[in-house]
Symmetry: C2
Subunit: 202 residues, 2 copies
């Protein structure tokens, strides 16, 4: 039987929990060490499963990596959905949240979704297309917030919310990459704050 | 003897040429396939050198990868130096050039320097710090251009050229990552054009 939501074979509740634990532990390891730096043995140890259990859920590493991409895309889009970009205060709170999240880890690992893009785009077409879909959903969430900001008169009518959403996401991704490489959130803050000052006001 | 410019053991002219050929071929392969997807055997074949020749110049893959980082950082900074950001026409020509470069390859490989950052930041501290230095030099070049643009009255005096340089580089990097993952230069164009319209005028 196939689960309609995920398109995967249906698992028992216990199986779902085990699978979720494997994906979650793999996501943490991959964010810390990169895809190439994470072995299936590392994941086995972190998730406390046997090799045959791991193999049962993920016949090869690509399957696991793609499940991690799905997990990070869902987490990112869900975070964005809970942010309120529909007011200047909401945008400010969201700005503080993303900067704080980066500061907490000195920007190590970069964006949980974007960093997977940089690592997998040329080697795993399936992962690439999952990440692209995640970016699209993320952009749509930002865009929706900016639309309601504009409806309230807090974003100049000359700005296209869809274009600004893409620009904001690009700034986040690039700012996080500079911050990750420089081990300082400074460039990330500068980029985000400069764009916000240019659009929503300082 | 050590070469004062590069800090490497001095090579004969022929040795320098062979080394340069290896680095150049490795840079192409790594840009196309990623670091993890490029083997030393691939590089040997592309540069037409033997295993012992390759080993003579690069005892392990990390050495070669770091030489590729240096090569891409130098190439990027030199490209930026040849662009003229000191006039609106110059900025426009530079914008067209970076978009065209991405379009030519459907944004495959992303930014030659930035994509190395995304792949190596968590696994190779030496490469990470070389990439960080490359980003700093790149930012300084952009900043210098924007300063002269501002001196000519073509950039609002309220904008800080250093902050805008960081923001522009972040937009480039993030826009290229979105484009690389989506295999379309559209998000890259949107992000760059939106930021330029907000700062320099449409």
């Amino acid at each position: 039987m196939v689960n309609k939501m995920s398109g995967r074979p249906r698992l028992t509740p216990k199986g779902e929990r085990t699978r979720a634990r494997i994906v979650q532990e793999a996501a943490v390891l991959i964010h810390e060490r990169g895809v190439a730096g994470t072995t299936l043995d590392d994941v086995k140890a972190a998730a406390e499963v046997s090799g045959s259990q791991l193999y049962h859920y993920f016949p090869d590493k690509n399957d696991l990596v793609q499940a991690v991409v799905d997990y990070q895309a869902d987490a990112t889009v869900s975070n964005q959905r809970h942010a309120d970009l529909g007011s200047v205060q909401g945008v400010q709170a969201w700005r503080d949240m993303v900067i704080y999240a980066a500061e907490r880890v000195q920007a190590k690992g970069g964006c949980p979704l974007g960093s997977l893009g940089g690592q997998l785009a040329e080697s795993d077409p399936e992962a690439r297309s999952l990440i692209a879909a995640g970016f699209q959903r993320w952009t749509a969430e930002i865009s929706e917030g900016l639309r309601s900001l504009q409806a309230r008169g807090q974003l100049p009518p000359s700005l296209d919310p869809d274009d600004l959403a893409v620009t904001l996401l690009a700034t986040l991704q690039g700012g996080l990459l500079l911050a990750q490489v420089q081990r300082s959130t400074r460039p990330f803050e500068t980029a985000v704050d400069t764009l916000l000052a240019l659009t929503i006001g300082g």
